[in-house]
Amino acid sequence: MTARARPSPIGPTRLVGRMADVLAIDGAPYPMAGALAAAVRGRQQLDRSSYAKTLGLDIATVDAAESGHTPLRELPDPIAERILWLGLDLTTLAADPAA
């Protein structure tokens, strides 16, 4: 069995791009930011209510972020701080057209 030296960012990066595609088709103004916010909650493995409580946010704020209605640079700190640890290629962060 071949050992993997480092986790590849390709799969997670590809997935977050596809998630952004879904939001873009739905008309989200900031699809990449929304995809990243959703990925953060996916990593936490929490439903919206528990996640919002854990991060000290209200559900409306979480929903706005995950639906792509919040620009990347305006995401709440508890969400934004966790994006860098998703294992993505960092170029993804520059892909939000309104960032």
Binding site: P12, L15, G17, R18, G42, R73, L88, D89, A94
Partner: protein, 220 residues
């Protein structure tokens, strides 16, 4: 939302409502299962070259998760596992992707509006600059500094274009960079590898770059 203790049923149920966080968790949790199905399909198509291409398989595995996400509403708990239930759709996706290099595929199954929306989800490569990345998060200004601290200006640009093309799904970023800079694909690949190796070495060796060491780009 949580109606079952079975993580698979819970995630499929959430994905059926369009929950993208569930898609991420589904991919993280069941990635080995999805990868096995993708690899079986690639091998059955007699493409060992692609089966051994880790990046390509990673990308196809992520796409397989999306195939299941798109169909989650039709899945029945207690039935076949989703990756078996959606096997034909996954195979079609793999075949379409593998055929991309040699067969010009149409986009007839994508509505014009959808295609425009998908394109709008990603800036073009020229917008994805290292400076822009730094402007998004001030903490990443030291990343820009590290990136600029090694190699020539041309090599920095070539290496960045290579990476952006790769992330955006270019099946041959080396050829794209080669065309852009008037060099051979092999040299383009070498520039990319050399530049990022130098950046990584700088980050690991120089104390001012210490905050970058835990980032996925540089983690051991």
């Amino acid at each position: 939302m949580l109606t079952t203790d079975d993580p698979l049923e819970r995630l499929m149920s959430a994905m059926a409502t369009g929950d993208l966080a569930a898609l991420w968790e589904f991919h993280e949790t069941f990635e080995p299962k999805l990868r096995a199905v993708v690899l079986a399909n690639i091998r059955s198509m007699h493409r060992p070259d692609i089966a051994s291409d880790r990046d390509r398989v990673d990308a196809l595995t992520a796409d397989a998760a999306v195939v299941i996400f798109d169909r989650a509403a039709g899945w029945q708990p207690g039935g076949a596992k989703p990756w078996n239930w959606a096997a034909r759709a996954i195979r079609s996706m793999v075949a379409a992707d593998i055929g991309h290099r040699s067969v010009e595929l149409g986009n007839d199954d994508i509505l014009d509006g959808e295609a425009d929306a998908v394109r709008s989800a990603h800036s073009n490569g020229a917008d994805l600059t290292i400076e822009r990345l730094a402007s998004i998060d001030p903490a990443l200004t030291i990343l820009e500094d590290a990136y600029r601290s090694v190699s020539s200006e041309r090599d920095q640009q070539a290496a960045w274009l290579f990476r952006v093309q790769k992330v955006n799904g270019d099946p041959s970023p080396a050829h794209t960079v080669a065309d852009e800079f008037g060099i051979s694909p092999a040299y383009a690949r070498k520039i990319h590898e050399r530049h990022f190796a130098r950046v990584r070495a700088a980050v690991l060796e120089e104390d001012r770059y210490r905050p970058l060491r835990a980032l996925p780009w540089f983690a051991a």
